[in-house]
Assembly symmetry: C2
Homo-oligomer: 384 residues x 2
């Protein structure tokens, strides 16, 4: 199949920032694209060859969209899987495959999958309804504190909450959920695994993450993680095992905890380019978006090594600001060494909304970390 400057069309479900960054790569290779998103203001609206407005959860919309592309991929996993399955049955190339998405889309299923496949993960209970949680506590089956997670449709810290007392459950959705042990971890790590259609597999270096304590969004992603080589190797091996068992095609971002006794527990996975891989645009030989394309088009995978160390800082909307976005002091941070801002193109900011990210690269990781902190202290995403 000819992909380059040909009639080939890649379909992308979802038109957010991940899709937008994927489009840099389709443009680089002149690969034709069609994007579907529910919003007319989707960041992907320009730079794709055709934009279709439609709900990603609607069977007919997804099916009709998929019929008219050559390969179908996603930039968000909350899509109608029945439509994908029907397309697959009819011979359409859907990557990641629906089977992998079914495991991942539901967090309860995902956790059971880890257990079934001998993949280390935190202890958890699964509940069909939130109301069952209180019973479980009363019966001594569950203890505070724990992490409540909605089984479906959580995103960017939505659908996740630390529960320290019964009242913390108030206001949360009532549906299927899990209650997960709060892991007392030393580090949060992630490994991105790429797997192409032919089964070639590569892992990116381990990254180290720091989360904002309340918003449950990443503050710094540091690559390579400043951890022991043996722990890094173990993390890559476990990520490879998840990848092998889940049989995805494309990228799989595997988020993990490193415990104080250096155990690795898999937290959750995403079968697509991931926030924890944004550093790769500036730091890696092959960035994650190009790698995702290589994988789903069954091209040879590229080198996943770093050219230089990379640190990523999310640009999230400041508290107290809702409205037309202004990136305060963005010129100031561009004066700093090795700093590249990425602006996703959302015109309206609100507290904790992911509006962009900044990458800091440097040959010296400690120097990069110092600059990253300066970036974080300087730039503010506000409204005017």
């Amino acid at each position: 199949m000819e992909y380059f400057s040909s009639d080939f069309i890649l379909g992308i479900l979802g038109g957010g920032q991940l899709g937008k960054m994927l489009l840099y790569e389709t443009r680089k290779w002149d690969i034709g694209t069609k994007v579907m998103d529910a919003s007319d203001e989707a960041p992907c609206k320009i730079a794709c060859n055709e934009f279709v407005k439609g709900s990603l959860l609607d069977f007919k919309a997804v099916y009709d969209f998929g019929k008219n592309v050559d390969v179908l991929t996603i930039e968000i996993e909350n899509v109608n899987l029945d439509a994908l399955e029907k397309l697959e049955e009819e011979g359409k190339k859907v990557y990641p495959p629906t089977k992998a998405l079914r495991i991942i889309q539901n967090k309860a299923k995902q956790k059971l999958f880890y257990v079934d496949n001998g993949i280390p993960t935190a202890e958890f209970h699964r509940f069909a309804y939130k109301s069952e949680i209180a019973d479980s506590i009363n019966n001594g089956g569950l203890e505070f504190p724990f992490i409540w997670k909605a089984a479906q449709f959580g995103y960017d810290g939505q659908g996740v909450k630390v529960v320290r007392k019964l009242e913390d459950l108030e206001g949360l959705p009532s549906g299927e959920c899990i209650a997960e042990e709060m892991v007392n971890f030393k580090n949060e790590l992630a490994v991105i695994v790429a797997r192409n259609v032919s089964g070639e597999v590569k892992t990116y270096p381990v990254v180290e993450m720091e989360f904002h304590p309340e918003a449950n969004q990443v503050e710094y992603v540091i690559c390579p993680a400043r951890i022991d080589d043996k722990v890094a190797l173990k993390a890559r091996e476990i990520a490879l095992k998840v990848s092998e068992k889940i049989q995805h095609v494309g990228l799989l971002a595997v988020e993990m905890f490193q415990t104080h006794d250096d155990k690795i527990l898999v937290n959750e996975v995403a079968p697509r380019p991931h926030n924890s891989g944004h550093y790769s645009i500036e730091a890696s030989y092959t960035n994650q978006f190009e790698q995702h394309l290589r994988a789903i088009l069954d091209l040879p995978l590229g080198n996943t090594d770093n050219k230089v160390a990379g640190i990523m800082v999310n640009l999230v909307g400041a508290e107290g600001h809702t409205g037309k976005v202004v990136y305060e002091n963005i010129g100031e941070i561009m004066r700093m060494e090795g700093v590249t801002p990425h602006i996703y193109g959302k015109k309206q900011t609100r507290p904790f909304r992911k509006m962009g990210h900044v990458t800091i690269v440097n040959k010296n990781i400690a120097e990069a970390r110092t600059i990253a902190q300066q970036v974080k202290e300087k730039i503010k995403v506000i409204s005017n």
Copy 2:
């Protein structure tokens, strides 16, 4: 001025591959763009916010286009300068400024500018008409061989010819031209200088170029040039001097000869992102397109150093192939270490047409050079 996710509009005259790569950066920063090009099939047609079809040499088209943007830049220097001048007079920000473009657009003027400013350049004669060349030869004023260059509108090896005998002039345009001494050089070098509106200036490392002997198009661009540090310093100093004298804003690519006795002679300049800077997308801390944007928007300039060594190979249409393009063996080259193809999006190939380029990066420049040759031997731009 707010540029990021604002109502600001950058106008770009020209919709070719340089504009297309510039658009990756405007997308990265969500800077609104309007592009004008004469062709409906311009590579820039997608990824800009608005595309206008119009002739770049037409006064009214350029003027009307420029009226409706906030800052106006170019990706090709053959544009109507009277229109730019009028826009400037009316207060529009035009970068590079018309004055710099007037010097550059006409190669005879450009050469006189070097002489007037004490910038070393090859000996030359200027002729108002081609017919004057024969007279000059007959009078002993000019000797074979020399390089004939059309004063205006040459591009990518068009408008340049080695003349070894009178008959070589046949078929060339009859208008203003120069006859330039053939420099017996050791290396062809280039230095890109960035200058922002406030006058901050940075130079990129020296690159070394190898040209195809007939097509007069670059075969390899190697960064950093494998030359003596003193020569590299001299080349950067001379490039800085040209930049200072010409008072451009944005990038200035300065092409130079290194003679056998290590003199540096300026060959010609381009006031925009340049083929000799494409390596920077993968190899540099700040690629040339981002740097051009930073410069014309008066943002701080980024680090021009290399993360790793970079070599660029042009993908030009193979001889004997005209028609719908096919990139033969592109999958094979993607299997090689540190190789990134760029496809410009021209659907039709023809002999020597610039269809794309391939960048090879590596920590070891000799290794990169070996791989670059393998790339060149493997990939072919053919028609099907």
